[in-house]
Every structure is written in C-alpha cells, then in structure tokens.
Amino acid sequence: MRHDFLDRYSRLHSPIHRLPAALKAGAAFVIVLGAATVPLPGVWFFAGATLLLPAVAAMSRIPWSFLLKRLLFLEPLVLGIAVLSLLRPDGLSLFAGIMARSTISLCTMILLSNTTPFADILALLRRAGAPRILITILALMYRYLFVLIDEAERMSRARLSRSPGISRLERWRSFTALLGQLFVRSTERAERIYAAMCARGWE
C-alpha cells in the first residue's frame, strides 16, 4: 500500500512507542491544555516544553527530516491566521504569544500522532465513552482512507496518461468526473463491506 507513508512512523519500535496510548494521549492533552491556558509570559512552561518535546522526538527515533517537514507544512497555516493579530493595538506581544502557544501544541500533536497507532487512539476513545457508531465510522474511514487515496491516484494517473495536454476546462471536467466515479466506487465498496460485516455477525 503506497500511502502508508502518511502515518508510517506510528508503528516504530522505541521507548516512546511502547508507552501506553492512554499515557501519551493524556500527556499530550495536558501540554496542549497548558499551552492554551498558561498566563502569557509563561516562560517556564514554554521553556520546559521546548526542552521536553525535542527529547521525546529524539527518543522516538522518528527521522528529524520527517518531523520538520510536517511542521513546515503546517506552520504556514498557523502563521497565516496569526498575522491578522498583528493588526490589534497590542499586536506584537499577542502575536508572539499565539505563535508560542500554537507551535508548542502543533509539535505535541505531531509527536502524538506519529508515536501512537490510530487504532490505539480509537480504542482509547471507545473506552472514554465515545458513541459506538462514531467509532465504527472512524475505524472504517481510517481503514479505507489509504485504499481510496491509492485508487484516486491510480485513476488520476490513468486519466493523465490518456489525455495529455488538454485545456484547463477539460481537466476540471475530467477531474470531477473522476471524483464522481470515486464516489460511485466508494458506495459499491461500502455495500460489499456491509455484506461482509453482516456475514461475520455484525449487529
């Protein structure tokens, strides 16, 4: 499965990966909560987090390039909104505060998602009392996410190789036809999955 790269590192073997999911999720929640609520200079908190998170990242043996790439991919979205806060009267300190808060939270969430398999997080959510249907939907979505992305990419490649050099308008039409086809295939797949689930005694 080619799209395994999306969360490939969540199944590594390291001291961090071996920790129970509840502990990791709890710690991440505490850090994110702290980053959101600590009164603003908050030097101790942010200094502590800045020391702790790289240490965890080092222990987890996830390649630094991967973590940095994810951070650089997501940080512009943070920056884009934070820039607007510069227009406020007390803009600069507010901007710095927001950037500190959200960067720490972002790093925490990147580490959590890459050290904990999604199935473990789902099991945690189920134990925390999340509705059963929602868990089923999330589990199915995660299971077939990679299949559908793969399928979308195969269809897109086939489309590109059949029709090189078409106009932008034509490209939009064929792209959306592709999406429609992908939806049709998803519903057909859902029917088959439902039949298979029933055959295995679901509900």
């Binding site: 929640f29 994110v32 909560l33 959101a36 609520t37 994810r70 997501l74 979205l77 943070v78 909104i81 607007l84 806060s85 227009l87 406020r88 009267p89 507010l94 927001i98 808060r101 959200s102 960067t103 720490i104 939270s105 972002l106 969430m109 998602s113 999604f118 509705p131 249907i133 929602l134 089923t136 939907i137 999330l138 589990a139 199915l140 979505m141 995660y142 077939y144 996410l145 299949v147 559908l148 399928e151 979308a152 932008r168 939009w172 959306t176 036809a177 592709l178 999406l179 429609g180 086809q181 992908l182 939806f183 998803s186 519903t187 797949r189 859902a190 029917e191 999955i193 439902y194 509900e203």
Partner: protein, 318 residues
C-alpha cells in the same frame, strides 16, 4: 479554515464544543433511528472519499491549486445527518492523524466545517430546490449552497477568532470572508461538476439520498444550533451596537473580556457611515453581490453540464 490550537480562549472553546457536541449528537441520533444500518459503512467510506478528494488538487491559476471541503457534496449525496458525521470524521482524523487543526479547538472546527458547513449549506440547498427543479436544479442549487457554506463557515470562524480577542473583527471578517468567497467559487464548481458527473453515470444514487420528510424535531434542533452559533459568534460584531456585546459579556460574567471587546468595538463608531468606507460593510456588500453572481453562475454551469431532460417538459431556472 482549520483553526490551530492557541487561537481561541477558554470561553469560545467551551461554547463551540458544546454546540458541536449537540450537533453531532443530533446527527448520530438521527442516523441511529432513521437511517438503515447499511448506511454506517457508507458514511465511513464517504468520509474516506471526502478525505481522498481533498488530497486531489485542482489547478486554479498560476501554480496555485485548490481543493474541496466537501460539506455540501456529502450532505446532498447522503443527507444532512450523514453529512455532519462524514465531515466530523474527516476533521477528527485530520486532527488526530495529521495534526491539521488543533485538539482543544476541535469543537470549533467541527462546528464551522461539520455543523455550519453541511447543515447551513443543506438548508440553502433545500430552499433553492423549492424553485429549481430537476437534475439541472439540483446541480445549480448544490453549487450555490456549496459556495454559501464555505462563506458561512469562514464567517463563523472569523467570529470565533474575534470573540476570543485574538484577532480584530475588522481584520478577520474581511480577510476570511473575501478569501473564502473566492475559494467558495471553486468549491461550488467542483460540487456541481461532481454531482453532474454522478447524475450522468449513476443517477439512482442521487434519488436514494433524498431524506424522508418527517424529520421535524431534528430540523428544529439543527436550526436552533445554527441560529445560536451565528447569534453568538457573528451578530455581536455585525450589529452596530457595541452595548449589545458588552451586556452579553457581562451576562456571561466576562467583564474582563468586555473591556477588550470595547477596544474592538470602538473603531465601529468611525465606520458608522454605511458604504464602502468600512471594510466590514464593503465585505458584506461584496457578499451580497457575490451571492447573486454565484447564483447566476451556477445556473449557467448546470445548464452547460446537464443535458435537457427529454421525457418531461424541460424545466427552466428562473
């Protein structure tokens, strides 16, 4: 439009989390009681489909590309309750698996993109369907509603940011609304084109998605949620009465915040003159003009895409 962590204050986080929990709760209840069991895998697969569709980038112009939000597409294809759940699942996975969108602000993101987006968009879609009939009408109404849902969600997002005191409403609303009025055109076009493509190949999938009529209580709950959200996050800023915001803030026991909001509201006095002087008024004006342009555009899009229905007399858009 995904709000990262650190942008919203505690009050906004609690309010949005409560609203989105209620919205998702109603949708779950509706799916559990009204929708047959075979729909559960379909909702999961549809969520994966929306996620995969969001990863396909559309060439826009000069190297930039846009992608789909998919809220109206999902709720038109599967019904509003399933649309809410599809978008919720997409946002939860984006947050927990890809750190896209914050953890504490997940409630706010779910409210904007999984409650306001699908439900507000679906409401507009149903309203437009009263006088847009046939497949063409469906494509036109869905394209329009997709645009409107994007703008609505962005406006709500701006309201939440301003409510938290992180961003000035006079900066956030024009920035968010104007950008999303443009992004929404892409959203509307993609939604319309995809629906037209499905109508060409598998029209029976669209007929199956029509929900039953007797869903009164759920609709009242949805309407109440939408109204509360818009009243809470947008109307304090959209109205020209700063006192209203102050009294709301005092009523909720946030005097300290009220002091801050006065500093937000004060420039409003200078911008009182209705017209192009104020960026907020200009944005609203652009919104109304944009809505008309989008409506005409989606009617034309639908006419271009969908061949006239041959068996029945052709239905024409007004």
């Amino acid at each position: 439009m995904h709000i990262p962590d650190g942008f919203l204050d505690t009050r906004t986080i609690i309010a949005t989390t409560a609203l989105s929990t209620a919205g998702v709760g109603v949708a779950l209840q509706q799916v559990r009681t009204r929708v047959e069991a075979r729909r559960a895998p379909l909702i999961g697969l549809a969520a994966a489909f929306v996620f995969a569709a969001q990863m396909l980038n559309f060439p826009v112009a000069a190297g930039t590309s846009g992608h789909l939000m998919g809220a109206v597409l999902a709720s038109v294809l599967l019904g509003p309750a399933a649309g809410v759940l599809v978008m919720t699942a997409v946002l939860v996975v984006q947050c927990l698996l890809f750190a896209d969108g914050g953890l504490l602000v997940l409630g706010a993101n779910v409210f904007n993109m999984a409650v306001i987006g699908p439900l507000g968009g679906y409401g507009i879609y149903r309203l437009l369907r009263f006088f847009l009939h046939g497949t063409r009408g469906m494509v036109a109404a869905a394209a329009c509603a997709a645009w409107a849902s994007t703008v609505l969600a962005a406006t709500c997002c701006a309201g939440e940011l301003a409510w938290s005191g992180t961003v000035d409403w006079h900066a956030a609303f024009p920035a968010m609304a104007n950008v999303h009025m443009l992004i929404g055109v892409g959203e509307g076009a993609i939604t319309g084109l995809v629906l037209a493509a499905i109508a060409r190949t598998r029209p029976e999938l669209l007929d199956a998605s029509m929900p039953s009529r007797h869903q009164g209580i759920a609709w009242i709950a949805y309407g109440f949620l939408l109204a509360t959200g818009l009243l809470l996050f947008v109307s304090p800023f959209a109205s020209s009465w700063p006192d209203g915001l102050e009294s709301v803030a005092r009523g909720l026991g946030f005097e300290q915040r009220a002091l801050m909001s006065r500093s937000i509201a004060s420039p409003m006095a200078d911008y009182r003159i209705p017209g192009i002087g104020s960026p907020v008024a200009a944005t609203m004006l652009a919104g109304f003009a944009g809505a008309i342009v989008v409506f005409v555009g989606s009617a034309l899009l639908a006419r271009g895409l969908v061949p006239p229905p041959s068996p029945q007399p052709p239905t024409r858009e007004p």
